[in-house]
Symmetry: C2
Subunit: 246 residues, 2 copies
DNA sequence: CGAGTAGTTGATGCCCGTCAAGGAGGGTGG
DNA sequence: CCACCCTCCTTGACGGGCATCAACTACTCG
């Protein structure tokens, strides 16, 4: 059922009992009640996929679904191209986040995953992962939680919010996710272009430019190309409240 | 682990090996490879919850998450109330569909589930269901698929589409779901108000009225209160294509 | 150095939300 | 049976937020 672990992973990727620090299944390892053979199976199952560079495709729309991926380093954008050729950005994914979960049901990837900078990912064969999940409750639980979370976050941007609210919520959300990864919450390094941000927020790129400018004039943030520092988090949060509330 | 099956379900709910016809786990039963004791466990696990009437609440925002529900009959609306007191409709759910999946991760229900007409649901204790899923691959698989599907559909309405596109996509989508349930695909009985539809599509109720009127003037549909008949499905689909494409 | 991309800023227009007024049931009590 | 009310729905007039178009700058890379 679970294949042999052919190639033992190199040392800097963690050992048999501890995964890479940004691992998507970190919480599984922390839980002490996981039996060690199961953990080793998970470790055998994962496959580190090489370095992607900005613009490289990790998986492509329509490809047969076989695995989900966890971002290890860098930033990944998921997007689809509509019939008119226009891009539609579904999300940005930071280290520790899973991509490809929306491919389970259609059994093909419904979107492209594109690297925005230098990206490394972990590949989890989904059939193997599902088999393991049946044996290890903590893994099953983690998968359910991740899937459930994505449903909620997808609905988040769906409301009819103003450009100000959207951008504020985006910045606050990004800031929080950076903080969760040990980066400072007030200095953001955006890996994506204005166009990508606009596209994700369902705004025009010009609108993003204008709103960022106004936020800066109001003293809420400071913008330097793709570096954004948040000067007044509380005020920014107040703007984003209608979206982030819950 | 799995509790005894105290009260055997009445005959019209199916027997030990076949569930109610609209059952959310119907595909599990159809697959022949499920061992019978596991199937009986699933049957023991499910709990039919009484008849709700229009406006009744099935679960409420903030309540501790303990179970997911499958709609058996009627139509359910999931919604949340934002801080300004405005309602935000997340979805409409027909027989056979699961609700509460977005509560797994936050561990409280992030929305209300409200009956729109006479509604019966099946209640699945989630801890018990997860335990069973670990033992029965087909059930785990079905859960993963349902979760995955909800991610995709949540992202569907998130684009910046015109009112025409949104309404056309809503009607086509609703028509398809009716057809899947054995109802005619061209005569729709909407259980929800115009306001609910508008709210779900992120439009004003007035806009929904106007667009429906125009669709009727163009001969695409016929509207009679909450009964809508689709006269030109192909043309309607053409309108909805930017949203439904994939 | 030239070219292409990303980003900014301004002018214009339109889609759709808002406000307002009226119409159409549907349930209740007299 | 009818008057009353309440909610749902429709239709019209108006205004605003944001997309679109366009021009210009800055930056990167071959």
């Amino acid at each position: 059922m679970m294949q042999e672990c052919a190639v033992p992973p190199p040392d800097d990727d963690g050992d048999e009992y501890r995964f890479c620090s940004t691992c998507a299944f970190g919480s599984v390892c922390i839980a002490g009640d996981v039996d060690k053979t199961a953990l080793r199976d998970l470790h055998c199952l994962v496959e580190h996929v090489g370095t992607f560079h900005a613009g490289d495709t990790i998986f492509r729309t329509g490809a047969r679904f076989g695995a989900i991926y966890a971002v290890r380093t860098g930033t990944v954008k998921t997007r689809l191209i509509d019939l008119g050729g226009r891009e539609l950005v579904l999300g940005f994914h930071l280290p520790g986040e899973l991509i490809g979960l929306n491919a389970i049901e259609p059994e093909v990837y419904p979107c492209d995953a594109v690297a925005l900078d230098e990206v490394e990912v972990c590949r989890f064969s989904f059939p193997a992962l599902a088999t393991l999940a049946a044996r290890v409750p903590a893994i099953q639980r983690e998968l359910f939680r991740r899937l459930s979370r994505d449903i909620g976050s997808a609905a988040l941007l769906a409301g009819d919010y103003s450009a100000d609210e959207r951008l504020a919520a985006f910045l606050i959300g990004f800031s929080r996710r950076c903080a969760e990864r040990g980066h400072p919450a007030d200095t953001l390094r955006l890996a994506m272009s204005r166009g990508d941000v606009a596209n994700y927020l369902r705004l025009a790129a010009e609108t993003v430019s204008r709103v960022l400018r106004r936020f800066q004039d109001q003293g809420l943030i400071r913008v330097d190309a793709r570096h954004v520092t948040i000067a007044r988090p509380a005020q920014l949060f107040e703007l984003a409240r209608p979206i982030l509330q819950r």
